[in-house]
């Protein structure tokens, strides 16, 4: 099992260090950091998450800009170690409310106490925030939010939508509110990350949705919760082939390829009426993960064009159309397009009256960047850019530029059409009516338009 666990800052500073077996020499954190920083191999310059130096295996994940690392000398299950590292990060976040260098340093005693319960002699014991609560005695010291990148994908709710209590996501599950009483509330977030690749002629080559129903409960007494999903939700494609969409693109059915559930979820009624029953443990956890390759309507259509315009000159035209309802607004939209290597200058031409748009040309990697603070559903935006080259193009310039990649966040939008029909708290008292938040968000994972 694992020998050591440590957390390093981006600069390589040791923030947390725990040795469970004393079989790995002392300088391991230093050795690890140097290797990660100066990695070079035939397969690129980014260190893989698992590598071996002088008989010591180093496994690491990056969370919130920090490196969570484990070392071992034996042939362990790397998936177990990497999952464990992710889970440690999540538990710490549950306790501290926010995960960053500052919060770790301020709470080091609590963090060590947690680590001793989570891992014994290198064996993971328990990573459930709920269970750990009975063994942990230190209280968290909450640091100011917004000082560093947050761990949770739910942090995206903090931007833009005012309807939601943004502080909730950085609230510790164990720390009490200033008033001494906890607010009774439960959050259910349907988070979808979509990947779409468009061919140069606009066809969809691949499309995929990775979804999670994330829950964070602040309900006292851990009441049972019933969560109802689309009644016609179907799991498993019968055709069993990625090429065969004919069976799935029909009516309104949502067909998932595969899904898995948190261990607290009971599926007694799932086959019957698509409801999940669970007693949510404290802390943030995924109720259900799902994956879908059924065809869906991509939220954005992009046209990208690059054309020669005289010697040493070319023009780029990027057009984005938001293919969703006008009641929905996407935010933090960004498009990137690599330009030919010999591009020296780019002058931009935004549409008249454009607000909240930024343009940039990154000299170093010859990248054209177009940012749009928000895009309202149904609207269309265009960017024109004039390029100047340092040499004659020897070939078709479309081959030397692109593909366009796009990132965005669309709150209150679910690309898969998966829905939480209702969230029921099974508790006798009629007066008990805690806050229930069901939120949707769709984000780009890999949204690529080839040209």
């Amino acid at each position: 099992m694992i020998s050591q666990f440590f957390v390093l800052s981006q600069r390589g500073d040791n923030i947390v260090f725990r040795d469970y077996r004393g079989e790995v020499p002392k300088g391991s954190a230093e050795i690890f950091f140097r290797n990660v920083k100066f990695w070079k191999s035939d397969d690129g310059e980014e260190a893989p998450p698992v590598f071996n130096v002088d008989g010591v295996n180093y496994l690491h994940v990056k969370v919130a800009g920090l490196l969570f690392v484990a070392t071992t000398r034996i042939n362990v299950s790397p998936a177990l170690v990497l999952e464990l590292l992710q889970r440690i990060a999540r538990v710490i976040k549950d306790y501290l409310g926010i995960l960053n260098e500052d919060s770790l340093r301020k709470n080091f005693v609590l963090v060590y106490e947690l680590l001793d319960e989570v891992i014994d002699f290198g064996y993971p014991q328990n990573t459930s925030t709920e269970v750990l609560k009975s063994f942990i005695f230190n209280e968290p010291i909450v640091v100011d939010a917004g000082r560093g990148p947050s761990l949770s994908p739910a942090a995206m709710f903090m931007q833009g939508s005012k309807r939601m209590p943004g502080t909730a996501v950085t609230k510790s599950v164990v720390a009490n509110e200033p008033g001494g009483r906890k607010r009774e509330e439960v959050f259910v977030d349907v988070i979808e990350k979509i990947s779409v690749t468009f061919s140069s002629s606009g066809y969809i080559l691949t499309s995929e949705i990775d979804g999670t129903i994330q829950m964070k409960s602040y309900l006292s007494g851990n009441p049972e919760i019933r969560l109802a999903l689309n009644e016609d939700l179907s799991i498993g494609r019968s055709g069993h082939s990625s090429y065969d969409y004919s069976s799935s693109s029909g009516a309104g059915m949502v067909i998932l390829d595969d899904c898995n559930f948190h261990e607290s979820v009971r599926l007694d009624n799932f086959d019957l009426d698509r409801t999940l029953t669970l007693v949510p443990p404290d802390g943030e956890f995924p109720v259900m993960n799902y994956r879908m390759t059924q065809e869906f309507k991509p939220p954005f259509r992009v046209n990208a064009l690059i054309e020669e315009a005289g010697s040493l000159k070319a023009e780029v035209m990027l057009k984005v159309r938001a293919d969703f309802s006008s009641s929905i607004t996407a935010n933090t939209v960004a498009l990137q397009m690599p330009l030919p290597k010999y591009t020296t200058r780019v002058s931009f031409d935004l549409e008249p009256g454009a607000v909240g748009q930024t343009t940039d040309f990154k000299e170093g990697n010859k990248m054209l960047e177009w940012g749009l603070r928000k895009i309202v559903g149904g609207s269309e935006h265009t960017l024109r850019a004039k390029l100047t080259f340092s040499q004659e193009t020897n070939m078709n310039i479309t081959k030397e530029s692109g593909p366009v990649s796009m990132t965005f966040t669309i709150p209150m939008y679910s690309a898969s059409r998966l829905q939480v029909r209702y969230l029921q708290i099974v508790k006798k008292s009629r007066t008990y009516n805690p806050y229930r938040w069901v939120r949707y968000v769709t984000q780009a994972n890999s949204y690529v338009i080839r040209i």
Binding site: K40, E45, E46, G55, Y112, Y123, H240, D258, N289
Partner: protein, 903 residues
């Protein structure tokens, strides 16, 4: 609680320790607790607070769990350095292990097990015995792990006290967490013991399967991993296990899924019903694909495992190729693995789609990824005969984009395609030849030359093309030289005309006389002998039918694949190496040898170790068809087997040339090593110029030998140098007396630096023009041996070396593998390098290997230091070299020089 913990990290004033001592002995609990926190804070940042041992241990007797835990944390850290004092804690431990509060009981055994001090260990046995049978499952599960801890410290004690039996009993415990920990502990003990300690019987199997559904996700992994070692008795037994394990595939924890896959794959080997197997494959596919939705780190592990699984059972994911298409934001390590799997899953059905993807990847920004994508296209062509033509047309499209590294990579794979499908695609050779001048990588050059030689009869100007390469023959790497030699012979055999005849002469001359590469020399001699004795036999040998090559993308050795599949979901399956290749369990940290201490960690963990790892890890995945022999070398020795006696002039007889080659056996120069030929007499109308830059007495000279093989006397020699990277120019007039026919003269021309410096990246090309009164001006190229610039005052003190190394930014560090270099005798090499003004600083063995790390310094004119770190296994080829210098542009030249010195 007041304030922030980080205040404990605040700056240390003088007298901090006495201050803490006072606080630790305070009568107020809060103050005590704060003080212990301060001590722990100091401990975690590496300060020595061991002198407070007694004071901290005195705080242990408390019913405040928070404080107790802090004290225990301290104890674990310092007990080892204060074994005599640690004994003070024993009484409290023993008392705690009988506390009414189960948390305190568990805490006591857990902590005792972590203190690796014999005296404590002795006292641990009784509490442990009790806790293994405690009423509370939390205590029992903690005690179970504690047995493994104790076994690690003192295995005998564990066996003598019967802990193993108690541990085995825990497999039947009512609490699944206890079962899981007992299984984990037993598995570890078994791992470190040669006796059979833990074996799953049908009885325990039942218990394990029952606990599997109930315990935590981590416990499930322990149990599944133990199950994977169980050998089912028959197909029904196997089916039964699989049935119980299959629901684990739905788990959200990837580790559970992979361990379940491992068990299922193992039991599938026993299952005979094809329906059941097919059904299982179908069930495994979606969860395996879902692993690719996890964090990229876990995706990487999943992909490495999938890579193995599809080699054994390609059908599982045959229809899922799309999920392996790269996303633009995948980390590079994920993209590379996806490419591998795409190649493995490519079939006639999906090849069009796959090619479209590869083509797209080949125009991306990341050079390593692009190269791999181009290779992938070639590998698909070799794998899928019916798709080969489409693959080639994609490659041709890519070549037309004229991105240098794409072209070179494409040529390398096209060579393999030609090997695989002879006489099919030669029509594209003309397109390839257009890119001839841009090739600068040895493998690409060698591939192109192979193609020219192989198809010489179809390429009208094959002789011209080869000749253009011949100009730089002496400077080419061995790989290219070998190909040039063989290609030239092929050309001659196919087109025995005057041009090729002359070329053969030049090549054989170069390959036999001017090289110290035995492979090249031997091959040249064999060809020479063949050509001179029996040209028909030469044809049979050199133009022999070549064995058919195949795609090696699936080629892990079957027995290795078996072993790796048995190790799915372990590190072995990520490295694609058997466990004993990287597992070296050692007992707690061995002290490093003395001399290593002299070098700080900064250097210790330097770049050479890094590259050592990467070659180790990345050596395993097949690197494409580059392993395919490029030339039919294997066929040669059997047919040729020449008598060892020297056979001078036979070629002369054969080709009928007058100025026959000088056989190597006759020494060409009276003393010292012969100078390389710069201008062959065949090219210089009888004038032969040999020469080399040398360093003597702190000055650079051009050492020349002029030889007049023409029929007329030559005089009035003058010399001129073109602009070059170092601004090398003549520092005086060329002193060559008039040369009578058949005579020769040696001379030393003093050289000066920094005269006419050519712009652009530094290279070693030196263009020279020589004229005399009788002949036209002769132009030739020489390669500047970089070591001539190393000045005599390059020796550095160790301290200066370290200081300089540290002061240079890391961006000024360059690392290079020199696979062909080796050191057979350390002392001789050091002497040789010192002779080249490369000064030895220090040497130390590299931990856990037989390798040695050697440090050198050198200095270039204008006081530019070069700091060198070499990692080498004496007697084995392959040297890793890292240098740091304020002028990193010089790096490649330095490596070239070092390579020459370490031949």
């Amino acid at each position: 609680m007041s304030g922030h913990d980080s205040k404990y990290f605040s700056t240390t004033k003088k007298g901090e320790i006495p201050e803490l001592k006072d606080e630790l002995n305070s009568q107020y609990k809060d103050k005590k607790k704060d003080a212990v926190k301060k001590v722990i804070a100091a401990m975690t940042v590496g300060k020595d607070v061991s002198s407070l041992f007694t004071d901290v241990v005195n705080c242990m007797q408390t019913d405040n769990l928070e404080l107790k835990k802090l004290v225990y944390l301290y104890l674990i850290n310092y007990a080892k350095s204060q074994p005599d004092l640690a004994i003070l804690a024993v009484n409290t431990f023993v008392k705690d292990s009988q506390d009414p509060n189960p948390l305190i009981r568990a805490l006591a055994v857990r902590t005792m097990g972590c203190i690796r001090v014999d005296k404590i260990t002795e006292y641990l046995c009784d509490p442990l015995q009790r806790c293994l049978k405690d009423d509370d499952p939390y205590v029992r599960k903690t005690a179970a792990i504690c047995v493994a801890k104790l076994y690690d410290i003192n295995a005998e004690l564990v066996e003598d006290r019967g802990f193993l039996e108690t541990l085995k009993d825990l497999i039947s415990d009512s609490n699944p967490m206890v079962v899981a920990n007992a299984v984990a502990a037993l598995a570890e003990i078994q791992e470190n013991s040669s006796r059979t300690i833990f074996e799953i019987t049908s009885h325990t199997l039942f218990k394990l399967l029952a606990a599997l559904n109930e315990c935590t996700e981590w416990g499930q992994v322990f149990i599944l991993d133990a199950l994977s070692k169980y050998k089912a008795s028959d197909a029904r037994d196997a089916e039964n296990i699989v049935e119980r394990v299959t629901p684990r595939l739905q788990h959200a924890n990837c580790a559970v899924v992979l361990s379940a896959v491992k068990v299922i794959l193992q039991q599938m080997e026993l299952i005979t019903s094809t329906d059941v197997v097919r059904n299982l494959c179908k069930k495994m596919a979606p969860p395996l694909v879902t692993l690719l939705s996890a964090e990229p780190e876990i995706q990487y592990v999943a992909l490495r495992n999938i890579n193995l699984i599809v080699q054994r059972r390609p059908t599982i994911l045959a229809h899922e190729i799309k999920v392996f298409f790269c996303k633009y934001n995948d980390p590079i390590y994920v993209k590379m693995e996806k490419l591998e799997i795409m190649i493995k899953l490519a079939s006639d059905r999906n090849i069009d789609q796959v090619l479209l993807e590869f083509k797209e990847y080949a125009t991306e920004v990341d050079v390593d990824f692009v190269r791999k994508a181009v290779r992938a296209i070639g590998r698909c062509a070799i794998k899928l005969e019916r798709a080969a033509e489409r693959c080639i047309s994609v490659l041709l499209e890519l070549i037309k984009i004229k991105v240098n590294y794409v072209v070179q990579e494409a040529i390398i794979v096209i060579k393999d395609i030609f090997r695989r499908y002879p006489n099919t695609y030669e029509s594209i050779i003309a397109t390839l030849c257009e890119s001839l001048d841009t090739l600068d990588e040895p493998e690409a050059k060698a591939s192109m030359i192979w193609i020219i030689g192989e198809y010489a009869e179809r390429i009208d100007n094959a002789d011209e093309l080869l000749e253009s390469f011949l100009e730089t023959f002496p400077e080419e790497p061995a790989q290219v030289q070998l190909q040039l030699l063989t290609a030239t012979v092929k050309l001659f055999l196919k087109k025995p005309t005057e041009g090729p005849q002359q070329m053969i002469q030049v090549v054989l001359n170069n390959a036999t006389q001017e090289t110290d590469n035995p492979d090249l020399r031997d091959r040249a001699y064999i060809y020479w002998r063949l050509l001179s004795t029996d040209p028909e036999a030469a044809k049979d040998v050199v133009l022999a039918e070549k064995p058919v090559i195949s795609d090696d993308s699936n080629q892990l050795d079957p027995s290795l694949l078996d072993e790796l599949l048995a190790n799915i979901a372990t590190l072995a399956s990520v490295y694609h190496k058997p466990p004993d290749a990287f597992v070296s369990r050692v007992k707690p940290a061995v002290q490093r040898p003395e001399d290593e201490e002299e070098f700080p960690d900064g250097l210790d963990a330097g770049p050479s170790e890094l590259s050592a790892t990467e070659t180790e890890i990345n050596a395993s995945p097949a690197r494409g068809p580059s392993n395919v022999p490029h030339v039919p070398t294997k066929a040669v020795p059997t047919a040729a087997a020449p008598p060892p006696a020297p056979v001078p002039d036979l070629l002369g007889d054969l080709i009928g040339l007058d100025n026959a080659l000088v056989p190597v056996d006759q020494p060409t120069v009276g003393s010292g090593p012969p100078l390389p030929v710069l201008l062959a007499s065949s090219a210089g109308q009888g004038l032969q110029i040999n020469g080399q830059l040398i360093r003597r007495d702190g000055q650079i000279f051009y050492s020349f030998k002029f030889e007049n093989n023409s029929l007329t006397p030559l005089d009035g020699f003058m010399i001129q140098f073109n602009k070059n990277s170092f601004g090398l120019a003549a520092g005086g007039a060329l002193q060559v007396p008039p040369l009578q026919p058949g005579s020769s003269a040696n001379t030393l021309l003093p050289m000066v630096l920094f005269q006419n410096i050519s712009p652009g990246p530094a290279n070693t090309l030196l263009q020279v023009a020589v004229k005399n009164n009788q002949q036209p001006v002769w132009y030739f190229n020489d390669n500047v041996p970089f070591e001539v610039f190393f000045t005599e005052d390059g020796r550095m003190e160790r301290a200066t070396f370290l200081e300089t190394w540290k002061s240079l930014p890391d961006s000024h560090e360059i690392v290079r593998d020199l696979p062909n270099s080796f050191i057979s005798n350390m002392d001789a090499t050091l002497e040789k390098l010192a002779g080249a003004n490369l000064f030895f600083i220090a040497k130390r063995p590299l931990r856990d290997t037989n390798q040695e790390v050697i440090y050198f310094s050198a200095k270039l004119p204008r006081n530019i230091p070069i700091l060198v770190e070499i990692t080498v296994l004496v007697g084995r080829p392959g040297v890793k070299c890292a240098i740091k210098t304020p002028n990193p542009d010089m790096g490649p030249l330095f490596f070239e020089a070092l390579e020459a010195l370490l031949k």
